[in-house]
């Protein structure tokens, strides 16, 4: 039921996640942040089994931060995504595998290029221009396939995000209370509200 999607432009990535935290038919929180800041220029959004998400994400956050402290240098987005995938892949054949789907979005501090990685719960990873997890993927992929072009600007990106949110409001059975919209660019991570975009 979680909605997670993201679009990458040339030097930015827009990450959108819904803010509802629910179990069965009860919504426990309506302003829940599903994103985890891994470094100043890398953001991870996660969905799946709730305990696994928190445990795995905090583990990853800690390790990415440890690398930065040890090496006085951040892990690049591709290195981060590969590290996450490896951790998830080693847990896959263990007694209790993590059940977490995630999107890892980042901008490389040296080259300025953006990257978006989609990692599913089986640790299958792809570097993609746009991605989504959950039921929303069936709606949002169609919009993004139609609208996306290479090297879009931030405004064009926001226009696509607005169309995605519209289709979810119109056609998805679950009504989301709100969305966290974060943009990762060369100047870091900035949050926008649905009214700003």
């Amino acid at each position: 039921m979680d909605a997670l999607f993201a679009i990458a432009g040339r030097d930015f990535v827009i990450s959108v996640s819904d803010t509802s935290n629910a179990r069965s038919i009860v919504r426990m929180k309506k302003n829940y942040d599903k994103t985890y800041k891994l470094s100043s220029h890398t953001l991870m959004s996660a969905c799946g089994e709730s305990g696994d998400i928190a445990n795995f994400s905090e583990y990853i956050q800690g390790n990415v931060r440890l690398y930065s402290v040890r090496n006085s240098q951040d892990l690049s987005p591709s290195e981060t995504a590969n590290f996450i995938r490896n951790e998830l892949a080693s847990s896959l054949r263990s007694r209790n595998p993590y059940n977490v789907n995630m999107l890892v979005a980042g901008v490389d501090r040296n080259t300025g290029e953006s990257s978006l990685y989609r990692i599913d719960y089986l640790a299958a990873m792809s570097k993609v221009p746009f991605a989504a997890h959950g039921y929303c993927a069936h709606f949002v992929y169609s919009v993004m396939d139609h609208e996306y072009k290479e090297d879009i600007t931030l405004e064009q990106g926001f226009a696509i995000v607005k169309k995605c949110l519209t289709v979810l409001k119109e056609r998805f059975i679950v009504d989301f209370p709100g969305f966290t919209i974060k943009v990762i660019s060369s100047s870091g991570i900035r949050e926008y509200s649905t009214n700003d975009i």
Partner: protein, 201 residues
């Protein structure tokens, strides 16, 4: 094995081999990536194509890359395709009772520029044919196409045409593979890689 979808084929020609794969990554019916790499160069003259579960494709590729590099350091020479095929077979049988859900194809030229291809099943049983190997969800389709199109001693350009047509027409009849193709033709002079755009569905 049918969760992500794939189609990979390798063929032997005259002093050359070709290996080709589709580019789709799916989650059953939903297509998630149209540029997913399934064929990897292990040495200058040896390529491996991995079909099946996408997570294991990456894991096996990484593990194999480590073993091939270690081999190179210990032996102070590059691994031969036949040796690598046995290495892959061993690696997969190590996981006999909890296997990697992949079926690899190895294609390469040995040190005497003689073409070599090999396919194994998910627990490492090797198969060393002299004509072609196929794997993936479109495996049966590929068998049909290869059996009708392949002939011995095809030159590099003809081999490229043959393998491309075999792959393209096979994936068109399989719902979970397709979305473009990559073809590598390995010759003594070098490797020519071409991407083909076909029905993008």
């Amino acid at each position: 094995m049918e969760y992500n979808g794939s189609a990979i084929v390798a063929m032997v020609g005259k002093n050359c081999v070709a290996i080709a794969a589709d580019k789709r990554l799916g989650q059953q019916a939903l297509t998630v990536d149209m540029d997913f790499e399934k064929v990897f160069p292990m040495t200058d003259r040896t390529y491996i194509g991995l079909s099946g579960l996408a997570t294991d494709v990456k894991t096996v590729h990484d593990t194999l890359r480590m073993r091939v590099n270690l081999y190179k350091h210990r032996e102070e020479r590059v691994i031969e395709p036949r040796t690598m095929a046995h290495m892959v077979s061993h690696m997969l049988y190590e996981r006999r009772f909890g296997p990697y859900y992949i079926e690899p194809i190895i294609a390469g030229l040995d040190k005497n520029q003689k073409p070599f291809i090999c396919g194994t099943d998910l627990i490492g049983c090797p198969n060393f044919p002299s004509d072609f190997v196929v794997t993936g969800t479109a495996g049966s389709n590929l068998f049909g196409m290869c059996e009708s199109l392949w002939e011995p001693d095809l030159e590099a350009d003809d081999l490229f045409e043959t393998i491309s047509q075999a792959l393209l027409n096979a994936v068109d009849r399989d719902a979970v593979s397709g979305w473009g193709a990559v073809v590598h033709v390995i010759t003594p002079e070098g490797v020519i890689t071409r991407e083909i755009k076909n029905r993008m569905d």
